[in-house]
């Protein structure tokens, strides 16, 4: 139940609105995060993810609504809130002219890590982010992936209860993304994490739950493993059929339960009618409904040839676009 204060709720956002001039970035957003959750903030670019995270981290105030982190109001106890969160802004802005260890020392002091724990804390941060071997390097000379890790090391310095990461894997190459996600999973075992992303598969890999945000509104909130099935209304069937194309298409459209039909890329070397006259069709059904038998019946009654019939779950990207109501 959102709105009830439970000891396990770490973050509570209620009716949060924020406008930049005439542009409404967040429109009455409410959600809560439990302790230990790894929450993915998912949405297309410009959906309001960064705004929401900036408000949570105390960089910007909201116009209306209440935001509480660990029972403290972000506007009233801004400093106290900032000392229990670790925040990594988008693009990881760091001072390029400092050495990694220098920078972390500066940040630890700034965050008020007590002097006797500082050294140990920096070591631990370096170690858990795999940056020990670049500690003496100047930040400006580091690769994108390492800068990201240094940013994460910084965010971990004050042993935050909540870790807030804004688009942490943008700009990394696939190998760095893989490593960084593994790192995040590790870090997320012990603490609450909120991360924003526009990459769906990232949510599936890293997060335990997800908030889908679009045009300033929350479109869905669910556990990550339910994402596909709950959002994925329907399945997709691929069929390769040989026959007069217009008749086939008309007949396939006529099958009850078919929501959409498209001609997928024909397999192999495509001639006029695809390889050997076969054309690949892609059918989606509106409900959790297996179309395969009906497709087979349809082909048989037309007297055409069928050489492939298989079910696919919808790619997440399609599901996502479906949810936020934008057609490709």
């Amino acid at each position: 139940m959102i709105g009830l204060t439970s000891s396990r709720l770490l973050i509570e956002v209620q009716g949060l609105c924020k406008s930049y001039g005439a542009v409404r970035a967040l429109d009455c957003v409410s959600f809560s995060v439990e302790e230990g959750e790894v929450l993915g903030f998912l949405g297309p670019n410009g959906a309001g993810k960064t705004t929401a995270l900036r408000i949570l981290s105390g960089f910007l105030p909201g116009d209306e609504g209440v935001v509480q982190v660990a029972g403290l109001d972000v506007r009233v106890d801004s400093l106290a809130v900032r000392s229990v969160i670790g925040y990594l802004p988008e693009g990881v802005p760091l001072y390029p002219d400092m050495r990694v260890s220098e920078y972390l020392r500066f940040r630890a002091r700034l965050k008020g890590v007590p002097r006797r724990r500082r050294r140990e804390q920096i070591e631990r941060s370096l170690e858990s982010t795999g940056t020990t071997d670049v500690r003496g390097r100047i930040i400006g000379t580091l690769s994108r992936g390492y800068r990201q890790r240094v940013g994460l090391a910084d965010a971990l310095l004050n042993e935050p209860k909540v870790l807030i990461l804004d688009e942490p894997t943008v700009g990394l190459d696939p190998e760095q993304v893989r490593q960084f996600r593994a790192l995040l999973r590790n870090v997320g075992r012990e603490r609450t994490v909120i991360l924003s992303t526009h990459i769906l598969s990232e949510v599936e890999i890293v997060c335990s739950s997800v908030v889908i945000i679009d045009r300033g509104r929350i479109a869905a909130r669910d556990r990550a493993e339910n994402l596909r099935s709950r959002l994925g209304r329907g399945l997709c069937v691929i069929a390769e059929i040989r026959g007069p194309q217009e008749d086939v298409a008309r007949a396939l459209r006529g099958i009850p339960g078919v929501r959409s039909l498209s001609r997928a890329e024909p397999a192999g070397d495509a001639g006029e009618g695809g390889e050997g006259g076969y054309v690949r069709y892609r059918l989606t059904s509106g409900a959790e409904d297996d179309l395969r038998e009906r497709v087979y019946d349809c082909v048989r009654s037309g007297g055409w040839w069928l050489r492939l019939l298989q079910e696919e779950s919808l790619p997440l990207e399609d599901v996502f676009l479906d949810i936020v109501g934008r057609k490709t």
Binding site: P61, Y87, P89, P93, D97, R109, L110
Partner: protein, 251 residues
């Protein structure tokens, strides 16, 4: 207490930043080089003058004074503009520190580096002290000038910091601050125009820092009114800087 330690932390980082910044080295080099040349020319020019040492010291500082106008903007221009441009301000302001601590820390760092640049002139005075024995320079006016420079720097550096907090472009910040400093310098012109009315003339002279130096400090007089005048401006500029760093929250 937390504010104080945060101010100190930011002060140390920014002061260190000056030693890593090419701009600071270029400014210091030009300053030392130009003043060294003036110093040499004056020493040679007044070689047989009975007042040689006093004249050299006075002209050294009256030439150097105009360096306040470009030095402060060049030192302070990056302090906020650069952080805003690269986004590090977001890192800084999401750490548990107040805007006041950040502004004060940066201001103090700029001020200390500004005084370091000025302290290079003491080398020349010291040279006269050693070589001019037994007729060495009078150190009284020198310390008076340094007191004046210290307080003047409070004003010009805080103005530079304010300009930097207004812009995300270093150049714009520098030009803004430079314009402000020139404004404080050229109100002295008002006293030339209004020389017939002595009240108005004195009013303009109070406002312009160049007349404070030519009339008082170089003679070893420290006028507390002028120091208070600089300090009041500095307080205003710092207050406004804090507000402008907070300004992101009003939009």
């Amino acid at each position: 207490m937390r504010t104080l330690s945060a101010t100190w932390t930011i002060f140390l980082r920014e002061l260190g930043g000056f030693f890593l910044s090419p701009v600071a080295y270029v400014v210091t080099f030009l300053f030392v080089f130009a003043n060294g040349w003036v110093f040499y020319q004056n020493c040679v020019g007044w070689e047989h003058h009975p007042q040689q040492v006093a004249l050299v010291v006075r002209s050294l500082f009256s030439f150097a004074l105009f360096w306040v106008v470009p030095i402060s903007p060049l030192l302070t221009m990056k302090l906020f503009a650069e952080e805003k441009r690269t986004g590090t301000l977001e890192m800084l302001m999401t750490a548990p520190v107040t805007e006041t601590a950040v502004v004060l820390g940066k201001f103090l760092a700029a001020h200390v580096f500004y005084m370091l640049i000025w302290s290079t002139l003491l080398l020349y005075v010291f040279t006269l002290h050693v070589l001019g024995r037994p007729h060495g320079p009078d150190w009284g006016p020198v310390w008076a000038i340094y007191t004046g420079l210290f307080f003047l720097g409070l004003m010009t550096n805080s103005l530079g910091l304010l300009a930097s907090s207004l812009s995300r472009n270093q150049l714009v910040a520098a030009v803004l601050a430079l314009t402000g400093n020139l404004g404080f310098l050229i109100v002295a012109l008002g006293s030339w125009i209004s020389y017939e009315s002595s009240d108005l003339q004195r009013f303009f002279e109070y406002l312009s820092f160049s007349s404070h130096f030519s009339q008082d400090y170089t003679r070893g007089i420290i006028d507390v009114r002028y120091l208070a005048y600089y300090a009041v401006w500095a307080a205003l500029f710092l207050f406004l800087s804090i507000r402008f760093v907070e300004a992101r929250k009003w939009r």
